[in-house]
Amino acid sequence: MILADVLDLWSSAWPAGVMMLSLGGGFALVLLFASEKLRVEVDPKVEQIHRALPNLDCGACGFAGCAQYAKAVLADPELLGGCAPGGAATSAVIAGVLSLQVSDSGPARKPIVHCSAHTGDKTLYARYEGIQSCTAANALANVQACKFGCLGFGDCVRACRFGALSKPDGLATVDYDKCTGCTACSKACPRNLIEMVPFKHDRMMTVACRSIETPKVTRSMCKVGCIGCGLCAKQSELFSVAENLARLDYRRYEPSEQTEAAMSKCPTKVIVWRGPGAVEPARSGDERVVESGGAEDG
């Protein structure tokens, strides 16, 4: 009885089964054969990344398929995280593959802004009313008196994809917790104020100025500019003064009594701490801002 039912069912079902069997088997055969005959050699790293990807070829990353994304992400690590289906886990694997490429030796480089003048510290000659971009403003002579200091229109802020930069009170300031050391900001600054410095320590001592004006001019332009007096160089041989500007050799920098002394001796207090370990970059309260309320003059 049951047997008859089963037989009945079988008789109506077997063609479908065979059909699919032949289709499945046929394709398996053809594909296996083809994958051997038509193999193309690819970069093992691309292969590695490709394998880490979900292989959905869904196009969510904006590329034609996983293979293309694998290639692209290898060339441009900024695309990391583009694979939505794979999510964070996949990105982590890719990041692993990518990092094999960058043979990183020495401490990580992080940006340091070589200016410490906030809005109130600077002298302005004129009111700039153009494109709100440092590059545009820098192309015009003397938008602010100091030709070397931070313009504060934030080209670097816009360049940072990680939101690590801000410009409170007109001075570009790095949030080292967010910074990945990608160098985008240092490339963006038209005044080359942002230098990628090997951070050997949690905080780095910095001469936060780039002005090579004479002391008199610097004084007239900026309350916190380096006047090249050379007091720091007298304390520590890590400092040197040329063209009215003190410089610190970051490569050789180690914290010591001498450097501390140099910092405390600096008459304009332009030697400051920068870095994740620095408490709020030296900025002696708000008095400066008040003092220099009407800094502009003709």
Binding site: A126, Y128, A139
Partner: protein, 344 residues
């Protein structure tokens, strides 16, 4: 001496034109068709234009407020959108529908793309297209001009509902284009089109959208824009020319069925579209060559829809379709710098 020096990039002087001036010019030009609308549709014109302008402005203000951006009402582009939307709606469309259309036009047609200048599609036409898709009934219910039907000037709110009940008895008025559609179906277009009909479409004493009926008023408005150089002649000319050629070809092929090309020029939204809608700078190509192509496309598609398609009127769809390809036109007909492409 100088206590406040200003600096900025060159140039340090600039021409007299401003966005607001451009928009005000368009509004001035639109006074002609608005006056015609007022004459033929009386109080309905006032209500409809008022509703659309106010709700477009309100929608724009609201969108700016939501994005916490300064309001952009003072460039008057929302007013232009409002007026053009109103002029392209049936005169007695209920106010709530006009509000829905206006809000849609501004919010979806314009502000989501980033506001003035960023929108891909003509906002007024987006609003109208949404109304057409949503409320087909309201968008195909026409009104006789007041000069033909003295009862027109009364507002009776029940009218639309009444119309719905009477629908089966064919009480609502058709437009010249609906007539032409029937003419094509019955194959007697050339037969029944006469001077009197032509005269009616020129003066505007026919049914249709609020601002589209009077060819003469539209031509005057268009002339004003051309004289003020608010628009170039390229787009209107290309639209009208291609429409004329298309209609003419059909007419030559079978003058019994297809109506005379003059009819197509003077009736429906073609003139409104050619002078005021296809010329919207934001959604038209930038280059002269691009404008020719664009106008050609609008004219041809309009006639294609009118003659081959099933909708009686095609200006709106033609404009929207050409808006969509405007970026491609701009790219294909990109201006080549003087002296050829630099070999960088």
């Amino acid at each position: 001496m100088l206590s406040d020096i200003k600096v900025s990039c060159s140039p340090h002087i600039s021409g007299p034109l401003s966005t607001r001036r451009v928009m005000v010019d368009v509004i001035v030009a639109l006074l002609f068709p608005m006056a015609a609308a007022g004459y033929y549709f009386r109080i309905h014109a006032v209500i409809l234009i008022g509703t659309c302008v106010v709700s477009c402005a309100a929608a724009e203000w609201l969108c700016c407020a939501i994005r916490r951006k300064p309001s952009t009402l003072d460039d008057f582009s929302a007013v232009v959108t409002g007026i053009l939307l109103a002029l392209s709606l049936p005169p007695r469309i209920p106010a709530w529908a006009a509000v829905v259309g206006s809000v849609f036009a501004i919010a979806i047609g314009k502000m989501v793309f980033g506001g003035l200048g960023a929108n891909v599609f003509n906002p007024a036409m987006v609003g109208r297209a949404f109304l057409t898709a949503s409320f087909g009934m309201l968008m195909t219910t026409w009104t006789t001009p007041a000069t033909l039907d003295p009862n027109m000037s009364r507002i009776d709110r029940g009218n639309i509902i009444a119309a719905r009940e009477h629908v089966i008895r064919g009480r609502t008025q058709a437009t010249p284009l609906a007539w032409s559609k029937m003419a094509i179906k019955r194959r007697l277009g050339g037969e029944t089109y006469d001077d009197q009909f032509f005269a009616a479409t020129v003066t505007g004493e026919v049914g249709g959208c609020l601002g589209e009926t009077s060819a003469i008023a539209l031509l005057m408005g268009g002339a004003y824009l051309l004289i003020r150089r608010t628009i170039g002649f390229h787009i209107p000319l290309a639209v009208l020319l291609s429409a004329f050629v298309f209609a003419g070809a059909a007419y030559l092929k079978d003058s019994w069925t297809y109506v005379h090309p003059f009819f197509h020029l003077t009736s429906g939204g073609l003139l409104l579209g050619a002078f005021f809608i296809a010329t919207d700078p934001v959604t038209a190509p930038l280059t002269r060559r691009g404008m020719w192509i664009f106008g050609l496309g609008v004219g041809t598609l309009t006639m294609l829809i009118r003659i081959v398609g099933e909708y009686p009127e095609g200006v709106m769809y033609a404009v929207l379709l050409m808006n969509a390809v405007t970026p491609l036109i701009d790219r294909l007909f990109r201006s080549v710098p003087v002296g050829g492409k630099p070999n960088v």
